[in-house]
């Protein structure tokens, strides 16, 4: 299919971009285009205007900001995956970025784009949620910070307001003693996750001091496996971890599609959480 007619603007500044969005409620931001263009081509979306943010340098790059890493919204998945700053400061993001689709898409698709698209099947939302990232949105009204827990509102819906553009995300550095893993379960290499588990685990004296677990594609938004996180806190490493991970699917409402029914997704969430936690904790 080919898209319906739309206007196209390529602003030179964030202010201009914000204005273009604020003045037209049917306008859409075009970043890497890896999610938006298929929607246009299938005529599932009919935006009036595409606001191409590809020329906005302030959205680009990855920056070490001391206690956190700031990943610009226009950083591509490939940049994120290869960035020394990301690999040192928030390695889970780099680990997961390597699982996004295929190399061609990783070179075009952007970190911020996949987050703002708010697809719970995307790999990045659960990761940023698990790491308690802070979203930085800009508009004519100025800058606003949104905690990850408040950013994802519903399926394909974020809390970005009219005229607001995602500038980037602050990912807090977790310090010493943390291990990470992203466990993605999919049928083919390029496919979306049927279920994904992002785990950050802090070890201390043979036990788990703290665990943060984000789940991909287990509901209309990415979710934290809070019950498992609590159960794991202070738990000694061993077989009992599996027990704690049995709670991983609690309070989730996974979707039903051709690849999996909800009960299978819940089962996978439990098995994969166990694997992710064990790997993150460095126990084979």
């Amino acid at each position: 299919m080919i898209p319906a007619q739309f206007e196209y603007v390529r602003p030179g500044s964030l202010a201009e971009a914000s204005q273009a969005l604020a003045s037209d409620e049917d306008a859409k931001v075009l970043a890497g285009g890896q999610s938006l263009l298929p929607l246009l081509r299938l005529r599932l979306a009919y935006p009036s205007t595409l606001v191409d943010v590809g020329r906005l340098d302030e959205l680009k790059g990855v920056h070490d900001r001391g206690d956190h890493v700031f990943i610009g919204a226009m950083a591509t998945h490939d940049e994120v995956m290869r960035s020394d700053v990301v690999n040192a400061g928030c390695p889970l993001v780099a680990l997961a970025a390597a699982h996004v689709a295929d190399p061609a898409i990783r070179h075009r698709g952007t970190f911020g784009g996949s987050l703002a698209h708010a697809d719970p099947a995307g790999d990045m939302p659960a990761v940023v949620l698990a790491l308690d990232g802070v979203f930085v949105a800009r508009s004519a009204r100025g800058e606003r910070e949104i905690p990850a827990a408040d950013f994802f509102v519903d399926y394909l819906e974020s809390s970005l307001g009219p005229g607001e553009i995602l500038a980037g995300v602050k990912i807090p550095k977790l310090g010493e003693g943390w291990g990470f893993h992203y466990e993605k379960f999919h049928r083919t290499a390029q496919a979306w996750a049927i279920v994904g588990v992002a785990a950050a685990v802090k070890r201390s004296n043979g036990a788990i001091a703290e665990a943060r677990i984000g789940l991909t594609n287990m509901g209309p938004t990415p979710v934290r496996a809070r019950a498992t996180e609590s159960a794991l806190q202070g738990m000694e490493l061993g077989d009992q971890i599996r027990q704690a991970c049995e709670e991983a699917a609690a309070d989730t409402s996974p979707p039903s599609d051709l690849h999996a029914q909800p009960d299978f997704r819940r089962h996978l969430a439990r098995v994969l959480t166990h694997r992710a936690v064990r790997t993150a904790a460095g126990t084979p």
Binding site: A4, L42, F185, T188, I194
Partner: protein
């Protein structure tokens, strides 16, 4: 032109010829076509344009089954850039009915199949109207302005239900398209008191052929004659059929299949879009073009497979097969297209496969449903048959607690028994199942893997190992015309070639085959180079344009080399016969005194010779031709084989099944194929790689899914999963060589072997891994969810007891 100078240059260039004995056939030549194809410097139909070309888009039915009560295209006609818009009614008088060339039985029902629906739609995606505009964007916009009113009719989706008396009807004549039965031997006796009877039902899921290049059509006219470019496998058949369907005389139609990016049988078709583009060009007097989107293709490229196979096998206690009974339901979809009803019947003589038995019965009922019609898809009927028998052989082995290779050994035709006439009546000319199997088991490390499997079972490892066997054969080289006639097929199975000697000694081969990825330009060059003793690079191959390659039966069914390649060889031999007469005249000797080697005729026992290039030039100048020799060496040949060819082989697959997630990972895959003599081992390897990948895809990934209302759910590649290299193991390939006796090159064809063999190898491996869990089958594709549910189902049963 100075004849002497040219002749001298030709003689010089001749010196760089390969030394005698360095045959082209058998060399792993890189493909001549690849640089061009891979860099996109090529001619896909969509890249070809004509001045003032208009773009066609079709409005397609959103309903599986409905009466069309009103179509209003006036809204579309008013939009900017729109040149015309038509409903099916507008074409009712001229569009004819899409052809079915294979009325397989006396009782076959061939319903009227208008290219654009007029009064009723019978599957989601059926064209109901079209827009012709100055560009595709405007055409797509205009589709949204067409108003269609439907009166919904009940969808017919399940084959078993479709055959009940209460079922709604797809066509007035009912939902049964045809039924056939073939019996050989005393089946009743074979099953009576049989110590072992295996009774299984398997489902061959519906697949969507996914060629890299989507379909595309362009049609143009000068007011009198017509040219149609199409991404088709069958330009020659298409030309005949377009003439029959539209009434445009055949000699006024030229069909061109330019470079074609894959087909797998899906472009072995006469499509609605081809007929309609031709008629639109006639109506508007302008060139028109249509290129499908991938989603449009998933809906409306003919689908493949879709059978329910009920198989019963009777055996003695020592594993010897007594009898085999096969009953198929084959989903035709909504209409019978070019060879739709023949597809399941291509498996009719293949369920007995490589095995000896006392009795055999094959029955098949074709069923209409409100889905996209099915038709040829890589292997066409033979993968289904091979899957059925190879799965059942493993079930027999399990029942006997016998190694699956051993149960096959006890039943297969031994190598010293060839030629062998099977229970279904085919005569296999050559083969050596023992040799292929021995080679495969050695490469695979069969015994070591069995030991590891035992270890994992004993340990209760959550990742279980399974080993799958597939000792397949197939009939290919479609087909001896006489046998096609017996099967009531509407055409012959011969192939045609011309070899032209150009004045400079270069060679043009014109082939009736229509390559769409097979590398015919390379392989035919190798055959011609050997036959004529000319350098490989001096040969070019022309194809796919009915004005250039005027005769042909095109490319499908692993026929091109086995039939078309032989036609090239025969034509080249005729060139040589003509050249011999001329050489004898020039050398003033008898033709019998000449020997041909390294591209030259030489008088025996002397140094006097004339190269084929010199002879080509002498024929061109025609200054001194002997009586009865015309001014050209060019020759034509047509080859029609006496028999099918029968490639075979042993494929072994090891899978790791994660019993916690249901994920199947192929750990190793060994394929030892016997395809007779090989022209180009590199091309063979490519065919086997692609073929295995496609068969694995059926086992693990692909499935066309319709919902309860008859909507296709798998319209994108996010839903219809195709594996990529990242999802496949490294294949270990080897060959044995039992030359075919039905053609002078001893070749058998390799286009479909990998696909036919690999699906049962993978599923057998999965079931083998899970047998200790009480699992006897997993429906294809064996997704993680299906494997998990199979494991869970067993667990639940255990809990209830």
């Amino acid at each position: 032109m100075d004849a002497g100078l040219v002749a001298e240059q030709i003689a010089e260039s001749d010196q760089i010829n390969e030394p005698a004995g360095a045959l082209e056939v058998g060399r792993p030549r890189k493909r001549k076509e690849d640089a061009r194809l891979l860099t996109g410097r090529t001619q896909w139909t969509d890249n070809i344009t004509r001045p003032g070309v208009l773009h066609v888009m079709f409005l397609r039915s959103p309903m599986a089954h409905a009466r069309i009560t009103r179509v209003d295209v006036s809204g579309a006609r008013e939009l900017p850039g729109v040149v015309a818009a038509f409903s099916g009614q507008d074409f009712a008088a001229e569009q004819g009915s899409l052809p079915c060339a294979w009325p397989v039985s006396e009782d076959v029902v061939i319903p009227d199949h208008p290219p654009m629906a007029v009064s009723e739609v019978r599957y989601v995606g059926e064209a109901v109207a079209c827009v012709i505009a100055t560009d595709r964007y405007r055409a797509a916009d205009a589709l949204e302005a067409i108003d269609v009113e439907y009166e919904q009719l009940p969808a017919v989706l399940d084959m078993n239900e479709a055959l009940t008396a209460e079922s709604p009807k797809v066509h007035e004549a009912g939902n049964k398209a045809f039924s056939t039965k073939i019996t050989s031997g005393d089946l009743e006796a074979a099953f009576r008191d049989a110590p072992i009877v295996i009774d299984r039902t398997f489902r061959q899921q519906r697949l969507i052929p996914t060629a890299m290049e989507p379909r595309a059509v362009m049609a143009d006219t000068d007011g009198e004659s017509f040219t149609l470019w199409s991404s088709t496998q069958i330009p020659h058949v298409l030309r005949v059929m377009l003439a029959v369907v539209t009434g445009i005389p055949e000699h006024k139609i030229r069909v061109i299949a330019p470079d074609v990016g894959g087909g797998f049988g899906s472009k072995l078709q006469v499509t609605a879009e081809e007929v309609l583009c031709l008629l639109l060009a006639r109506k508007l007097g302008k060139p028109v073009k249509w290129t499908e989107s991938r989603s449009e293709g998933n809906l409306t490229v003919h689908h493949g497979r879709d059978q329910i196979q009920h198989i019963r096998l009777a055996a003695d206690a020592d594993g010897r097969i007594r009898g085999l009974q096969v009953a198929l339901l084959a989903d035709m979809g909504a209409y019978l297209m070019l060879v739709t009803p023949g597809i399941p019947l291509l498996g009719a003589s293949m369920f007995n496969a490589i095995y000896k038995m006392d009795a055999y019965e094959f029955a098949c009922t074709g069923v209409f449903t409100t889905k996209m019609p099915t038709d040829a898809y890589r292997g066409a009927g033979r993968p289904e048959a091979t899957f059925g028998i190879e799965r059942v052989m493993d079930e027999l082995a399990a029942e006997l607690r016998m190694d699956p290779l051993e149960v096959r050994r006890r039943n297969w035709i031994k190598h010293d028994e060839f030629p062998y006439t099977t229970i279904s009546g085919l005569t296999y000319d050559s083969g050596n199942y023992e040799a292929a199997t021995d080679k495969a088991t050695a490469l695979f490390g069969y015994d070591k893997l069995r030991a590891e499997q035992g270890d994992r079972r004993d340990r209760g490892d959550p990742v279980q190992l399974g080993i799958g066997v597939s000792t397949y054969t197939e009939m290919c080289g479609l087909a001896p015309s006489r046998m096609l006639g017996e099967a009531n097929y509407g055409a012959g199975g011969w192939e045609h070639a011309s070899v032209r000697m150009l004045p400079t000694g270069k060679v043009e081969v014109i082939t009736g085959t229509s390559p769409h990825g097979q590398g015919h330009v390379t392989s035919w060059s190798q055959i011609a180079a050997d036959a004529l003793g000319v350098p490989f690079d001096d040969v070019t191959v022309l194809h796919g344009d009915t004005a250039i390659a005027h005769k042909g039966m095109d490319t499908y069914g692993s026929r091109s080399l086995v039939i078309g390649g032989i036609a090239v060889l025969k034509a080249a031999e005729k060139v040589k016969d003509k050249a011999r007469k001329l050489a004898a005249h020039m050398l003033e000797c008898s033709p019998d005194d000449l020997e041909f080697a390294a591209g030259a005729f030489k008088v025996r026992g002397t140094d006097s010779q004339r190269t084929i290039q010199e002879l080509a030039f002498a024929a061109f100048t025609a200054h001194d031709l002997p009586e009865g020799v015309e001014a050209r060496l060019d020759s034509d040949a047509t080859f029609d084989p006496e028999n099918y060819s029968f490639p075979h082989g042993t494929h072994l697959c090891a899978v790791e099944v994660d019993t916690e997630t249901g994920m199947v990972k192929i750990r190793s895959y060994v394929a030892v194929d016997d395809i007779g003599k090989v022209v180009n081992p590199l091309i063979v390897e490519g065919q086997v790689h692609g073929g295995i990948a496609q068969g694995i895809a059926q086992a693990l990934f692909e499935e066309a899914v319709y919902d309860a209302d008859g909507n296709l759910l798998t319209t994108t590649m996010a839903d219809y999963l195709l594996p990529s290299a990242a999802d496949l193991p490294t294949f270990t390939l080897d060959r044995t060589e039992s030359p075919a006796t039905s053609n002078p090159l001893g070749v058998k064809g390799v286009g479909e072997a990998g696909t036919i063999a690999s699906t049962p190898a993978v599923v057998n491996a999965i079931v083998d891994a899970l047998r200790p869990h009480g699992i006897h089958d997993v429906e294809m594709p064996c997704t993680p969810e299906r494997v998990w549910r199979a494991l869970e189902g067993r667990a639940q049963e255990g809990a209830r007891r």
